[in-house]
């Protein structure tokens, strides 16, 4: 019996965040300024998700738009190969790396995770790491081609484990997130905090075990696939919170941004006091 996913004669599901939300908040004077890398991909969806949380969002298509005024940066989903080639053509790789090193928070989803990974496998011929910064090895297209793309339940752990989150809770745990030709983290360094995993199916488990034998896995647990990580100011997911109602990840990112801004301010006033004392 054939079941149908589709709408039959009904409307189709609205694509979340494709259009600005009516729930977008008015901008406060001190709204965080977030750049969204807009070389290719689903950057509009991120901008609209952040808009709902009261961030002041601007698109970054050229070096000049990657300004010092930005408090944080989002690298969206899209085709990582394309985004890397366009970034190189526009001489944006070094400015983006400088942004990552500046300590201002950066949030990457899907292709964005690949961008931020120190090591990536399954790249195109001659592929190389793009920006780096996250001490992880990421496997491109870990789940296979589009027919393997799926909505799957994601378990939160670490700082985001249920009951541990500071601000508002992430909606419905475990939330079913969209993995679209998605990558996965197959090795995470010691300084990396795992924030989200999902249960590996037999094929994925075999793939993880094979990688484990090659190089050693974080925690050596091949029953779970690592799909969300944080290391200092860098946050990345293999899936697309921007395509869903789950604003928790963007909220967490904006918390990182405001904490970073606050610590900068403390540093600033401390050095001012020091100067005054001299």
């Amino acid at each position: 019996m054939v079941r149908e996913t589709g709408p039959a004669s009904d409307a189709v599901p609205n694509l979340v965040n494709l259009l600005p939300s009516v729930r977008a908040m008015p901008l406060a004077d001190d709204a965080p300024r977030i750049g969204v890398l807009a070389l290719q991909g689903a950057f509009v969806e991120h901008a609209n998700a952040l808009g709902q949380l009261g961030a002041r969002v601007s698109e970054v298509r050229q070096v000049a738009q990657l300004s010092d005024d930005l408090d944080g940066l989002v690298i969206p989903g899209g085709e990582s190969t394309t985004m890397a080639i366009v970034a190189r053509t526009l001489n944006m790789v070094e400015p983006l790396q400088a942004f990552v090193r500046s300590g201002r928070p950066v949030f990457g989803t899907c292709a964005g995770l690949i961008f931020l990974s120190d090591r990536a496998t399954g790249q195109k011929i001659g592929g190389q790491s793009v920006l780096g910064g996250l001490d992880v090895t990421t496997h491109r297209n870990f789940f296979g081609s589009q027919i393997e793309s799926a909505e799957r339940p994601v378990e939160l752990c670490g700082a985001l484990a249920p009951g541990k989150g500071k601000g508002k809770a992430i909606v419905a745990v475990p939330f079913r997130h969209a993995f679209i030709r998605a990558p996965a983290v197959i090795h995470a360094g010691d300084g990396v905090q795992v924030l989200a995993t999902l249960a590996a199916d037999p094929r994925e488990q075999a793939l993880l075990e094979e990688q484990h034998q090659k190089g050693g896995l974080h925690a050596g647990d091949a029953t779970r696939v690592i799909v969300g990580v944080q290391q200092g100011s860098l946050l990345a997911t293999a899936f697309h919170p921007e395509l869903t109602e789950d604003l928790g990840w963007h909220e967490h990112f904006l918390r990182m941004v405001s904490e970073h801004a606050a610590s900068k301010q403390r540093e600033g006033s401390a050095s001012k006091r020091k100067r005054a004392a001299k």
């Binding site: 054939v2 996913t5 189709v12 694509l15 526009l90 592929g127 589009q146 793309s149």
Partner: protein
């Protein structure tokens, strides 16, 4: 339907959604969202696919002959040899698309089995069914379909297409039809958005589209799925023109590998789509590209791909899109 051999039409396919969460609307429409702001390029072999990937294509369309050659050769154009599609898939890491004939759901089953990432049910190939398109809701793999106006787009979405493209007139290197289709769609959506809800029932009937999708489009002020430009795009300026007309991305068919310097032109079109609003960038990337493909004036054509729609051929056109007494060339 008669169950002559025990198989009802198309039921040989695996169910579209599985317990494991594959094949949902979100992941099918979501891949199209990931392709936004990108260029999808026609390639006829693995080598061209590599050139396209290196130039920054977001995806490649694997087909045996580009539309310009299909137009020249005539005859029946069908799904490509799986061998060629598999070779292209092995050569690149970006998503691979392939075309099936309108209504040919078995070609679609074959492509889904091959693990193609997106299927284009395309008017560029010869039609296999003159009344029905493929019921795309039955498939796990997502589909893109051409549309020359809002009604056609919504009919395809109702059948399960999670991505739409303008039909343009593929293989001509002439962007006029793509512009015509994009503007027609924009105009209809604007008109719809300002409509009294009472008028929408009749509008749905007039354009031959399901009322629910008409109402949804009115509420959104755009198509409910990603919408690309296709057909006749040959230069970076053509691509930027389509982006400024509100398209989410661009297909380039014959335009790249029928030109003098495919590598350079492909890169230029990719850059033009990212910075479609910046004339300085467009001027730079348009410079010194060598000769573009030779164009065809649409008035001189015998076969109009864009007039092909199962069950709804344009007036005066036969099932091949051949127009005896042309009223217009769109």
């Amino acid at each position: 339907m008669a169950k002559g051999n025990g198989v009802a039409n198309g039921e040989a396919v695996v169910p579209a959604t599985h317990a494991d969460g594959t094949g949902t609307w979100k992941v099918k429409a979501g891949l199209a969202q990931m392709l936004k702001g990108g260029v999808i390029m026609d390639v006829v072999n693995a080598e061209q696919a590599r050139v396209a990937e290196e130039a920054g294509a977001v995806s490649v369309m694997a087909l045996e002959r580009v539309p310009a050659d299909i137009r020249r050769d005539g005859g029946v154009a069908r799904m490509s040899d799986p061998k060629m599609i598999t070779e292209v898939k092995a050569a690149v890491t970006i998503p691979v698309m392939a075309k099936v004939r309108i209504g040919h759901f078995v070609e679609a089953q074959i492509l889904q089995h091959l693990g193609v990432d997106f299927i284009d049910e395309s008017e560029v190939l010869t039609m296999a069914d003159d009344e029905l398109h493929v019921n795309k809701n039955k498939f796990t793999v997502p589909f893109v379909c051409g549309a020359r106006n809002l009604g056609e787009a919504l009919r395809r979405i109702a059948e399960g297409a999670t991505m739409i493209r303008t039909k343009g007139e593929a293989g001509t290197g002439n962007v006029v039809n793509a512009v015509h289709h994009a503007r027609a769609m924009n105009k209809e959506i604007r008109r719809l958005s300002s409509m009294d809800p009472d008028e929408m029932f009749n509008f749905a009937k007039e354009i031959g589209a399901p009322y629910a999708l008409v109402k949804q489009t009115a509420e959104l002020g755009r198509l409910p799925v990603v919408n690309f430009a296709a057909g006749g795009v040959a230069t970076p300026a053509d691509a930027a023109l389509m982006m400024q007309l509100g398209m989410d991305g661009v297909f380039v068919g014959s335009g790249i590998f029928k030109s003098d310097n495919p590598q350079k032109r492909a890169r230029a079109i990719v850059e033009a789509v990212t910075n479609f609003n910046d004339p300085a960038v467009l001027a730079r990337v348009s410079t010194d590209l060598g000769a573009p493909m030779v164009g065809i004036n649409c008035e001189d054509m015998k076969v109009h791909f864009s007039k092909r729609e199962a069950g709804n051929m344009e007036e005066g056109a036969d099932h091949n899109g051949v127009v005896k007494k042309a009223k217009n060339v769109w």
